[in-house]
Symmetry: C2
Amino acid sequence: MKIQELAEKTGFTAYTIRFYEKEGLFDSRHVRREDNNYRNYSDEAIERLRLIKKFQSMGCSLVELKDVLQDVNESKRTNEQMIEWIQHKISEVEQKKDEYDQILGTLNWMLTYRTALMNDPQKADAMLAAFKHSNAGH
Amino acid sequence: MKIQELAEKTGFTAYTIRFYEKEGLFDSRHVRREDNNYRNYSDEAIERLRLIKKFQSMGCSLVELKDVLQDVNESKRTNEQMIEWIQHKISEVEQKKDEYDQILGTLNWMLTYRTALMNDPQKADAMLAAFKHSNAGH
DNA sequence: GTAAACTATAGAGTGTACTCTAAGGCAAGC
DNA sequence: GCTTGCCTTAGAGTACACTCTATAGTTTAC
């Protein structure tokens, strides 16, 4: 498929897809050139972009991704290094999930507070006081 | 407390803390000036920075944060708008958590694959084949 | 066969969030 | 009183991830 089609199928712009190629995030499994020099993408390119999106959302830089997504055969890293990296990422993601639970707690507090502010100002004051008190002991 | 102390207590640099002030993320609850023009931070500044860190890790920009963290009294947004924003953020965080579960799935697959590559190459091949097959039906 | 719509490249520009430099003032220890 | 180190500011510089412009070639529809 051509670049515009890939862009539409993945939600990236054609600009971005070319940029990712320049950054070394694709190889011959994903793109080849036609006789007219147009890029021809395989279905694996879709998978690759989905994977990039996933890893990016967990805070991976493009440089890090480039390293990690390389084919096993041509990777600079040994298999042991890769396993180490994956384990590290797994614990990072698990930590992020915990953080998100904390954030949910904060957001729910804010929601309750803002709702009280409208319906029950006295309760809102009490919440604020309780919050300040809970932070007094660190 | 002075800026260096706040920096050490929160893990931000003094540069960043001043930068955040320029961006309007603090108010008189958090910083005041001494006679010598030095910034004097309250304990609330620590809380504020922790909150900034949290919200930032869920993809909030500093501009968005500025809006949201403003005191109820001087906020540009109505309470209703704030409640809407909070609810929106809550569903965003819940979605992110789901995404992270997916990523954990991917990472665990990668870990199993890489381990197999060392100990049981036949299994690794089978995994790769199964993976490609699972993507054939979208 | 020509206009519109797509493709290509190199390289410039943008937005976000820092990060640092330069030049000067203030504070604490010797 | 002087050095060392922290504080101040304005503004420059950096890193990252795009995002677009200019220019040119190719394909498609009429």
